[in-house]
Structures are given as structure tokens and as C-alpha cells.
Subunit: 463 residues, 3 copies
């Protein structure tokens, strides 16, 4: 696929989406539609891409900047698909001698293989234009592909077709390979002599044929490639379709998904065989999960690596690494930059952040571990807090192997708890504790007899 | 719609529901079916409503009392629809000269427009009775509308119809407009000379025609108006239908709903464009949500107002007000009468109740804020508790702007923390702290060396 | 059903499941497929069961051991269904004179009635073999049942059938009743003279007919009995089917299930009428729930007994007993061996374990109650912890009726809090508190003026 480039049309508003966001940034499974199109291009080794922006151009451009290097051409007025491609004139001229893919930025089901195969046919047939087409059971509304023995004769829009033409079920997918130089020339010939007063990209076909050049049609195997979204309801339908496709892929890989109806898995997630995904689990992008895990119900995992045999029950986990044989939840919150070593148990109402938690350590309930380096086999009693913020700066706690923190211990960072050291329940620890020592900071208990009677007397008076 | 009134039939048991509750109180999206019927009446400016109660009459009447003013007539025996309307005799007599809508209390898809349009036709045609009808693809089981040039000739029940009659696909929706005085007269003529031994309301049609008066049929545009529920499974089907209708409405308004399969939104919820609803979110009645929010997954919101750009992640929020740019969750519980000002962050395992929380304030984890007036830019350390209940009375905490509460601070209400004041972690604060002061209440730490060895020795002995 | 026994085929790998687990252990609604088959056998009073194991035999055998007494025969090589049954030769010989059911271990929709009715027909007709059959709209791929006036003439596999035979829509369900002695004899006559080189169990039919014995066909009323799973996707489909069947059963019993799409209920769950199951609730095995409860959203209940009018909101509850009129959640975790008496309230972020919690007691938030005996009308302030583990042993707390525990109280077990006793907020209680006394263990508060200025100065220096 050397000598190729692409123009992606991303200027549209998508009025029916009723959104301040440009349509190509509408997300399907946590990824903007245009990103799927870009991935398909990259997968087909098309690296030089010019994106035509328009509605909310800054938002599109800023997103593009965050994911790679793209040329940008702005379409300030919406004057048709041909006009959009004209905006890329400089880009096209720099790519003279190559082939250019022209594709819409809101067709998330396009795939690399289709782009590659279409280009192969484009070269094999020596076409000036190759239109990607699809066959639909119900082609109503789409431009019909009228072929002759040389290839494509014309594309007929729904409103212009005669009875015979409208019976044709091969339609224009809106994706094209062009010989760049022919395209530049043909764009120059476009006019707005039509009912919409727009420049139609499809008019390049007639202009090209008139030059005696060849226009071919590549029929995609799967008509899903044409699917786009003009409304939130369409978007939901695309999202559900992709959701189920992805779930089928994981089924085929040996993943068990129980009642898949409410399970969302991002396209890039890797999940090992014999892992079970329980209902209502959301796996966002950047996630690798090993085998034998039980994820969910009601868990959210994003940008994290999870080992084998890990339980994440009703837990949210972000940008962290969890080793194998770890048991977390229900109701735990793993915040970014946590590393949890093997055989750790974090129970109900435990939060972690920016910490390393050593092998075999446990925090069963109501505990916060932040900005801490925790050794092996440490026991956090219920209600422990690593006090990492003093109102001005953040500091770290270091907790040695085998330490035992009594319930409701506060560790005021920076502080170091030695190996096998203890803290007494209810202590606020401000100073380091040596190995094997007990740190205690609490007042002695007094019992005041008869308190209840006085208290209730107080109540009676007040009532 | 002046000069109208309504009789709602709500006496039925709904045996197949297997419920102690009367059928009309069965809920669809958190609202009893009869409430939908009442809303449709009110929307058609029918304000004078008599409800016929019977099975579990007290429960129905008590619910009605909670939502408005209604006349009640009890039907002590179940002797047919005609008998039910007879119970409203006093009500009808007081409404002499008007038109009365007779409608079943378990048809939640009825709507005001249908009631208005049917009444208009009733007046325009000068009918004594106007039957609301619907056209069904499969009319089997329903009473067929047999028309002639004057209007409706008769209604034929399934078991009584001849082949020709049963082909008719226009059916009796069970909703009628009557001239009140004609109805009173016709009710007087009803008999129980039929196989069920009941008084049939539809027999009023024949009696009316025999008087030379006119009976018309108003065909509803949408046959959903006839949908009712005789079983829990029916109820679920109605609920799912309404759920999807509501979701479609929000799609059209620009709301993004990701995997809508498990999302429940009450009919009265208002949601701004570009707000995202994540899976398994329940929005109950009385909720307004701004735009740009992310609600869910697994959130429940009821009777609350939410501003713009608010995140409610795995959070339950009841009867509260949340301003804009607030970030809550995961796993937070906003109890009634909380007001959360802009740019507040409440993190994991935080609960609030009956408090005002000022702009820019944060409580990141494991904190309870109850009965408190919290200023701006306050920092709650992990594990803070506003101790609002002394076992006898509840008191308030007042926390000034910029205060910094150390972790595991207890504030024993009533207490005031001055502006920019600090509390030391682990302190139980019983007295006011002046502005900019530090309140500290904790014992000094001691370290006892060699504790671990003794402890383990103890273990060895015991084992 | 005296004089019967069963051979269950459970040696298969289920390659397309892509699992380390043997196929018959794949679960549907938290129960391995083979367990459904065993339950159907037991329900038909077939108590003497031999299971043929093979792939991951130890795993299957270990599971079987955990649920009852079974004979085991291992099939070391996979040489066909006939070969599998040959492995049970000893078992069959011990059951000489009886009838044996031969059935696959991965057909979870089989039911006792079908097995009983088939056996009755087997006896009534004096058959040597009775094949259980099903009628399918689309029989493609299944072995067709070719009948004659005497019963079954032969079973024709898809690839071997002529046009006429392939039109037959009665198919072999893979379940058979055999006269044991005839089976032993017929197994002896099986050969591997076929394209697969395997011993086919169905070849026993021809051998039996050749002996002049009778082979009959029992047609199951419901063709679901043949459903099995060869892939994760199949398994999901079976699971969804059973999920919906179970939900329908509960609908019929008067249970309200709101948006049932994400609700999982184990087959053995008992739920009272007028209980509402909210979305995304998982009810695992061993659960009994009373009437008038509200379970969910997002709750998990396993091996527990729940009384009437109990609320379990976003709560996970394991191996516990909850009496009536209890209100729990959102976000609570009831760990095993908790008994919660009537009118208890456990609020957000509360965990319990191995405790008895008396009538009328409340723990509203952020509390852990473990290894404790809690009386009636006890009030746990926010942040209370029963400190049950000292790093060596676990001990119990005893809390008398009417006790009031101040917020962030630590009770260091073993300890006894007397009736109506109080603890001061923030106290770590190490010694018993007598009835009606106040236990207090905390330092006196000091306020240090001007702290904020110094602190901020510190910040300025550091920045």
C-alpha cells in the first residue's frame, strides 16, 4: 500500500444529533467514530491523512492532535462532498502520482481489509476511480451503482432513478480510491448545476469516464461498512451492533459472559479464556485481562492490566496494574497508578491511589491507601488512612513487610512503619515506627457510670 | 373542554397479578397506572374526576388523596362495568348537562390528545355516546366496532361475532364520552340478562340508539392507548414499551444513552442535550438534569435538580440540588436536602445529608457530611465525620471557608470551625475552632520496641 | 421408577468452548450443566447414577463428590458414544434386570417429567430401547427418527438421509431408556466400521431390532430438552433462555421485576409475591426471599434467607439471614453468618460478618460489625469498628441493648458494652463498659491560634 494517502471528510454537523460536538467525535464504545476510520486507514498502511474539518473544527483538530499527526484542511462553507475534497487541494497536489482514499469520518464499521482489497482492485484494473460498493437487501435511499462491461457507468441517486435502476441493490458506500492527478483534474470540472447547488464528489465519475478513463466498483463483503449515524438513536444502534460483535469475538476466544445485555467492552480489550464477565461490567480502552478472572458485576476497568485469577467485584479500576490471584471488592476504587501485587485482598469500601501494594497484603474494609509503598503481608485494619496530604504538599507512607496496622490508624506522611511493626487501633502515627515495635497514640479509657440516666434526663428536659 | 368530567374505573383486583395491591396501583416506571390515566385527563382539562374503587379501596383512595382531589365512589360488588359506573350516580347527577369520560384506570398509554380529539368529535357529531376505538392487526378477543352510515351500530364481542363481524379490525378501546343525562338514563335500563349475569356498560349503546340518539366512534391514531396489564408479565411488557418510548424521546433531544437496555427514566425527567447516561442508571420522578453531564453507570437519581457538566458515577442521589461542574462518586450517597454548590468533588464512600456544601469544597473518601453548613474550598480529609446526633438530639456543624479537616476528624455538633482553620488528623473536636487556628485533640505517640516478638510469642503459645 | 439407573455421558471436552474446564461443568445461572441433568434424574427417582468422565476427569469427579454419591467410569479415549457407555460395563452388569437411562451431561433443559413419561412408555410398550425424540421446525443436522408400525425402524444421520428421510422433523434427542441386559449384549456387537471409526450408541438400535426386540420412540412435549452448548455463545443463549423462563415463573407468582433484561435468578430461588426485583440484581442459589421486599438495583444475594418487606439496595449479601422489615444499603456488604433481626437499618458503606444484630439496631454509615453479638436498639455512630482481629486471634464484641456508640469508636475485642451504655466519639474502647456508663478515651482538644498563617508561610517557602 505504498503510494497511498487519504482524505477523511469530517466537516459535518450532524444536526439531528442535537449536539454541540461535531458528529465525527460522537463515540461508539468510548471511541469517536473518526478514530475507527483512522484505525482502518492505518491498518491499511495509509499513513498520510488529510482531515477536512468544518463544524466545530477546533474540537476535531484538537482530538486529532491527541492521537497522531494529521494534515488538516478546513471547509468553511458546507457546499457538498466535492467541495469538501477541494479543500484538500494542497494535500492532493503534494501527493501527485499516488492514490488517495476519500472516506467519510462517520463510518465506524469500515475496516482495513476492505480498504486494501479495494486498492488492490484499483491497481489491478488500472482504474482512475474505484468506488467501494455494498449490496443491500433494501437499497432504498442510496445511490445505485449502474455497471456496464467496463466497470461503473454511473451512480444514480434515489430521486433520479428509473424503475429498472432503482431495482439495483448495489449501492455507493461513499468510499473511493482515486488516482490523485485525475481527481485534481476532475474536481476542477465540478459545477453546482444541481438542485442542491452543491459540488458532488460523484460527478467526478462522469468527468473521468468522459476522459476515457476507467471507473471500477469494489463490492465489500460485508455491507456494515456503510453504517453511519445521523441521530442519537442511530448511534445507539451502531454501538449495540459493535458491542455484540465484540462480545461474539470474546465468546469465540473462550471468555464467559453472563447475560451479555449490559456488558460493554471496548474494541481493543484483551481478555483471556475462562475469564468470566458478570453483568453490567464496562471494560474501557487500554485493558488487558488474564484468564480465570471474574470481572463484575458492576465493575468498570480502564487503562489497566489485570493478571490471572483476579476477582474485581463491583469495583472501579483506572490506570493501574493488578497481578494475579488478587481479590478485590465489592465496592472498591482503584485509582490511577496503583500496582497491586499477587495474592492481595482489598475488601469493601477500600480506595487506593498512586501506591504499590505488596504480595499477600490485605485491607479488608473502609481503608484508604494513597501515595504509599506497602510491603508484603501487611495487614490494614478497618478504617486505616494514609494521610498523604497536609493541606500544602503530598507525602508518601512506607510500610514494611509484615506490618500490622490497627483499626482506624492514621499514618501521617511522610512516615515509615518498620517491618513487622504494629500500630495500636485508633492511633494517629506521626513518627516512624522501628521494625517489630508497637506505635501507640491514644488516651486511656475512663468509664463514667450513670451517664445514660443523665443523658436521658437531658432528653426529657429538652422535650 | 369545559363542561366535562370523568369516571375512572379502578375497582378491579387483577387476580393474575397475584398481588395484595389493587391493579391500578401497579407501577410503570415508578408511577401507578391510574396516575397516567389521571394525567391524561388533566392534560385534557378534565378536572372533575370520580374514581370507582373496590378491591383494596382504601389503598387506591389513599394514593389518590396523596396526589390531588378526587370524588370517590365505591363498588362493593363486582357486577360489571355498567354496575361500576352506576356507583357514580350522584357524581353524574351533579354533572347533569355535561359530558363524562368513562375510562379504565389501568390503561397507562392513553393520552390527552386522544381524549380531546374524541370529545371534539363527540360535540361536532352531536353524539350521545362516542366510543374511542383502535385498529389492530390482530383484533382477536376484542369487541368489534360495527359501523353503519350513522356511526356505530353495535359492538360485537368475540364470542358473539359472525365470520364477517370478526373480520373487522376496529375494536372498542374501552374509553367513552357520554352525554351525562343520556348515560344516567341508559344505566337505568341495563339488565343482567347475559351469560355473566353482569351489567355491561356497552349495553348503553343499544339503549341509546333505540332512543334515536347518535353513537359515534373516534378512532385513535395510535392503538397503544388500549394497552393494559392483566399479569406481571404484561406489566413488564408495558413498562419496557414505555421505557423505550421515553429513551427515544431523549435520543431525539440529543441525550446520549449508552446501551439503553438497562436504563430506566421516569416519564417526567428532563435531561439536557449532550448529557450521557451510562448503563444501568435509574432516573426516577422529579429529576431535572442539565447538559454535558455523565450520569451512571449504576446511578439512581430521584427528585433532584442537577446542573451542567455534573458527573454522578455509581452514585445514588435523593431530593437534593447539585449545581454545575460537580464530580461525585464512584460509590457516593447523596441523601435528601443536600445542596452541593459548583466545582465540588465528593469521592468514594462519601455520604451527605441535609447540608449545604460550598463551592470548590472536596471530600475525597470515606466521609459523612450531615446536618452541616460547609463553606467554600473546604477540604475534608479521609474518614471525617460530622457527628450530628448525640443520642438525643441532632445538631449542626458549621465549617468556614477554606477550612482543612485532617483525616478521621470527628466534629461533635454543635460546633463551628472558623475560616481557614485546621484540625489535626485523628482529632475529636468538641469546641469551636477560631479562624486560622489549629484544633488538635490527640495523644502523643509512643513506640514500644520488641512488641512484635512478644505478640508472636503469644501466638505461638496459643497455637 | 424402581429398578432404574442412569449413565450420564460427561467425558467430552467441548473444544469450541476454549476452556480448561470440562464442558459439563460449564455453568448456566451459576449451576454446571451436568447438575441440571442430575437433578432431572433425581426428580425422576433415578438415584443410582454412573457418570462417564474423560476430559479433565478429576474436575468432574471432584464436583460430583461435592454434590452427592455417584459411580464413576473413566473413558480414557474418545471413541464415540457407544464406547463411552461401554466404560460403564461393570455398573450395567450390577444393574442387570433393570432399565438404564443413557443421557448426555450437557443438556440442562431435560426435566424429570420427560424421563418419567419416557420410562412409562418404555415399560408399557415392552421396549428393549426407547429413544427420546423431539419435533423441530428445522431438523437439519440431527438424526431423523424413521418410524414404522412397530415403533422406530432406524435413525438416519443428516449425511446419510435420502430426500424423504430428511423431511422427517422428529429427531433423536440423544436420551434413551435401555433394558440393561439388552444394552450389554448390544454394546458387545458394536463395531467401528464407519467413517469416524467410532462406536455409535445408536447402532444398538439395529442390533436390537435384529434380535426381534422392540425399539420405541417417546416424543418429548417440549423440544427444549435437546438444547446443548458447543460454544460460549451457545452457552449464553441457553443461559438467557433459562433466565427468561425463570423470570416468567416469578412473574406468574406475583413477583414484580422491573426491566428484567439484566436480572439473573438461580433456578432454586424462592421469592414471595409483591416483592420487587430492581434492575441488575443477581440472585444466586440457596436464596429465599419473602414478600413485599425491594431487592436491587445492583444487589447480589447468595445462600441467604430474607424476610418480608426487606430493602436491599445496591447491597451484596452472602450466607446470611435477614428478618423482616430490614432496610439495607445502598452500598452495604453482608458477609457470611450474619443474622439481622427485624427493623434493623444498615446504611451506606456498612459491612457485617459473623454477627447477630438485634431488633431495631441501626448503623447508618461507614461501619464494620464483625464477630459481634449486638443487642436491640443499639446505635452505631458513623465510622465505628468492631476490632475483631489482633493480628493473632479473632475475638468477639458483645454490645448490650440500647447501647450508643459514638462516631469513630473502636471496640477492641474481646469487650462487652453494657446495656444503654455510651461511648464517646473517637474513643478506642479496650475495657468493658458497665450498663448505662459512658466509656471515653480521648485527648482534650487544644486550639493553636495562627496555625493557618504559619502553614501557608510553609507553603510559600516550599514553592
Amino acid at each position: 500500500m505504498g503510494n497511498t494517502c487519504a482524505v477523511i471528510l469530517a466537516a459535518g454537523k450532524g444536526t439531528r444529533m442535537k449536539s454541540k460536538k461535531p458528529k465525527v467525535l460522537a463515540e461508539i464504545l468510548f471511541k469517536p467514530m473518526i478514530h475507527y476510520v483512522i484505525d482502518a486507514c492505518k491498518g491499511a498502511d495509509i499513513d498520510d491523512i488529510c482531515v477536512i474539518t468544518g463544524f466545530e473544527a477546533e474540537a476535531v483538530e484538537s482530538y486529532l492532535e491527541s492521537i497522531g499527526n494529521f494534515k488538516i484542511a478546513r471547509q468553511l462553507e458546507q457546499k457538498g462532498t466535492g467541495h469538501a475534497v477541494m479543500m484538500a487541494k494542497d494535500f492532493l497536489e503534494k501527493n501527485s502520482g499516488k492514490d488517495v482514499l476519500v472516506i467519510c469520518g462517520d463510518t465506524p464499521f469500515i475496516n482495513s481489509q476492505t480498504l486494501k482489497d479495494a486498492h488492490k482492485q484499483h491497481k489491478d484494473e488500472g482504474n482512475a476511480i474505484t468506488v467501494v460498493t455494498a449490496k443491500l437487501d433494501n437499497p432504498t435511499g442510496y445511490g445505485r451503482i449502474i455497471r456496464n462491461s467496463n466497470g461503473i457507468e454511473k451512480i444514480v441517486e434515489q430521486k433520479d432513478g428509473n424503475e429498472e435502476e432503482l431495482k439495483v441493490n448495489e449501492i455507493n458506500a461513499g468510499t473511493y480510491w482515486f488516482d490523485v492527478d485525475n481527481l485534481i483534474e476532475a474536481l476542477g470540472g465540478l459545477t453546482t448545476n444541481n438542485s442542491q447547488g452543491e459540488y458532488y464528489l460523484t460527478d467526478t465519475i462522469d468527468l473521468t469516464l468522459k476522459k476515457g478513463k476507467k471507473v471500477g466498483g469494489f463490492t465489500a463483503q460485508n455491507s456494515d461498512i456503510i453504517l453511519g449515524a445521523n441521530s442519537r438513536k442511530d448511534l445507539h444502534a451502531l454501538s449495540e451492533k459493535m458491542r455484540l460483535d465484540i462480545i461474539d469475538k470474546h465468546f469465540a476466544n473462550g471468555v464467559e459472559i453472563v447475560s451479555a445485555g449490559s456488558v460493554l467492552i471496548a474494541p481493543d480489550a484483551k481478555i483471556g479464556a475462562d475469564t468470566t464477565i458478570l453483568p453490567n461490567t464496562i471494560i474501557k480502552s487500554g485493558v488487558t485481562i488474564g484468564s480465570g478472572c471474574v470481572i463484575g458485576p458492576n465493575s468498570v476497568v480502564e487503562d489497566s492490566t489485570i493478571g490471572d485469577n483476579v476477582i474485581l467485584n463491583a469495583t472501579q479500576c483506572y490506570s493501574s496494574k493488578i497481578h494475579s490471584n488478587v481479590n478485590i471488592g465489592p465496592f472498591a476504587h482503584i485509582r490511577p497508578n496503583t500496582e497491586i501485587k499477587s495474592v492481595v485482598h482489598l475488601g469493601a469500601f477500600v480506595e487506593t491511589k498512586n501506591s504499590v501494594i505488596g504480595e499477600g497484603t490485605g485491607a479488608s474494609h473502609l481503608t484508604y491507601i494513597g501515595d504509599s509503598d506497602v510491603g508484603k503481608n501487611v495487614n490494614f485494619g478497618c478504617g486505616c488512612v494514609t494521610v498523604n496530604y497536609d493541606g500544602v504538599n503530598k507525602h508518601r507512607c512506607v510500610i514494611g513487610d509484615g506490618a500490622f496496622l490497627g483499626c482506624n490508624t492514621n499514618l501521617i506522611a511522610p512516615v515509615t512503619i518498620g517491618e513487622d511493626a504494629y500500630t495500636a487501633a485508633g492511633s494517629t502515627i506521626t513518627n516512624d515506627i522501628p521494625a517489630e515495635a508497637l506505635g501507640i497514640a491514644r488516651a486511656r479509657q475512663e468509664n463514667k457510670p450513670g451517664f445514660s440516666a443523665k443523658k436521658l434526663a437531658g432528653r426529657n428536659k429538652k422535650v
